[in-house]
């Protein structure tokens, strides 16, 4: 009976499609997971294509090999045992077999890819895909790697600038083209404190300085910047505290930054 052969072929095609779709989604999950891992460990993300392709090939092959009418019968109980019996006796044209084929053809109208697919699983996998995509983007935008995760976690998240504010380059180009840090913070202590920390790193002798006993007025700060391409820069503490803005405006700005620095 040609019509049943044709119908069974279509069912097989649907099964292959569903199997390939599942394999592809699983492989994409693998791809994103490995991309995330490789990025985290500062490895070229392009290598994540290797496990992706390997998994896609193997899983597709295994899925296609194991595909069977049982998968349809599970979702369409009316077809239980009928479908595979009809498929195994497709060449028979006696009345009993033909009756069974007609029976199966009627019930096959209920079969579609959407019915066979495990919707819950598909939705959760796609959600996981989106989640991983987000993580990949988040990690790359914030340059999160294995060597800067712990310090950042210790310092905590800065509400002003983001996750890795302290570890990033502190110099910013201001709106007026001058390089200054005061536009970022607006707090004299933070500028001095940051400068002091960097000074300690640069000069081993000054590591003996007790930061708690820091006296802002007494200390003459000599800051030698080490950012690449900028050369040495000297900034005297007294110079950095000079402001040409009137007191009222200073107060407004100061209050603003104080309020946003508050936890």
């Amino acid at each position: 009976m040609d019509i049943i052969k044709h119908a069974l072929r279509q069912v097989k095609q649907i099964l292959f499609f569903v199997s390939f779709f599942n394999s592809f989604i699983n492989s994409l999950l693998i791809l994103l997971l490995f991309t995330l891992l490789f990025f985290f460990f500062k490895l070229p993300w392009i290598y994540a294509l290797v496990p992706f392709l390997a998994f896609l090939t193997l899983n597709t092959y295994r899925g296609m090999k194991n595909v069977g009418y049982y998968d349809v019968e599970k979702k369409v109980p009316d077809l239980e045992w009928r479908l595979r019996t009809s498929a195994d006796n497709v060449d028979r044209d006696d009345e009993l077999a033909v009756d069974l084929h007609h029976d199966v053809l009627e019930r096959l109208q209920q079969v579609s890819a959407a019915k066979i697919m495990n919707k819950k699983q598909a939705v959760s996998k796609i959600t996981a895909l989106f989640g991983l995509c987000f993580l990949v983007v988040f990690f790359s935008l914030n340059s999160i790697h294995f060597d800067n995760v712990l310090p950042a976690l210790q310092d905590g998240i800065s509400p002003v600038t983001g996750f890795f504010a302290k570890a990033a380059n502190l110099t910013e180009v201001s709106f007026f083209g001058e390089e200054t840090t005061e536009d970022l913070y607006g707090e004299e202590e933070q500028i001095k404190y940051g400068g002091k920390e960097e000074l300690i790193e640069l000069n081993q002798m000054l590591g003996l300085v007790d930061v708690k006993n820091y006296n802002r007025e007494k200390e003459g700060k000599t800051f030698k910047g080490t950012t690449a391409g900028e050369g040495n820069r000297e900034a005297l503490g007294s110079e950095t505290s000079k402001e040409k803005i009137n007191d009222e405006d200073k107060q407004i700005v100061s209050n603003y930054f104080r309020s946003i620095n508050e936890p």
Partner: protein, 314 residues
Amino acid sequence: MTTESIQKAKEAFEVIFNEVGKVVVGQRHVVKQIIIAILTDSNALLEGYPGLAKTLTVSTLAKLMDLKFSRIQGTPDLMPSDITGTYVLEDGKGSREFKFQPGPVFANVVLMDEINRATPKTQSALLEAMQERQVTVGNHTYKLEKPFFVLATQNPIEQEGVYLLPEAQSDRFLFKVKTDYPNFNEEVEIVTRYTEFDQKMPDLKPLLKKEAIFKLQELVRQIPIAQDVRKYAVEIVKKTRERKELIEYGASPRASIGLILAAKANALLDGRNYVTKNDVKEMVYPILRHRIILNFEAERNNFDEDDVIGYLLK
């Protein structure tokens, strides 16, 4: 043969079950298995304690199916010619001649009561009839009328002075049907029916003709079966040969053939035109229990054949 035929067959057998139920209380599984043996053109062994309506069940079924019924009582002095028939000297017109007198085996349904009490020689005469569907007496061979079924009974007690059926012979029976005691309500019903003063045996009329039985036998073989189910049946039988921890000797391929046929007949009785694994599971116990020989380990643990079969199915 269409699905309609299957539905009609199912309805006919429901009526047969109800009619048998008018005479025999309960024992539906026994009736079902005997009907399956008939539909698969095979023979069955009935084992049960005395007084469990084994003979009554078989004779009632034979009446309902319009089949000629005969009964042979197995005794140690039973001779093969008592079963097959013999030549007797008859006075003809002016001469005497030997005429063949057919034995009780020349019937459609032969009930051999207590086959294990007959001698091996007598048992083999019956078994030849079962296998070949013919009887050889002297130089002549006489074909047996179709359909032909042998239902042999065995008493599980009184094992002294009996001749146990050899395994090679018991293999020829499709089923070993176990009859059991009725439950409390069934026994109350039995007592009510058979102890009242106005007891009347129901008048049973034939429901199936021989031609219908032949068609049903053909229908059983035509029922389509999936390759999965076939492999499942063969797998179970193969396990009986491989699981040496409990089974000394397993079942032969005859068991696989019987299991598939019985599963098909079970599907027919259920009104289906396809076979499922449950059909196989339902038939596996009566098919295998007389074909496996348990080893000492099983006996030591007090396992019987049904326990071992249940273990194989897991």
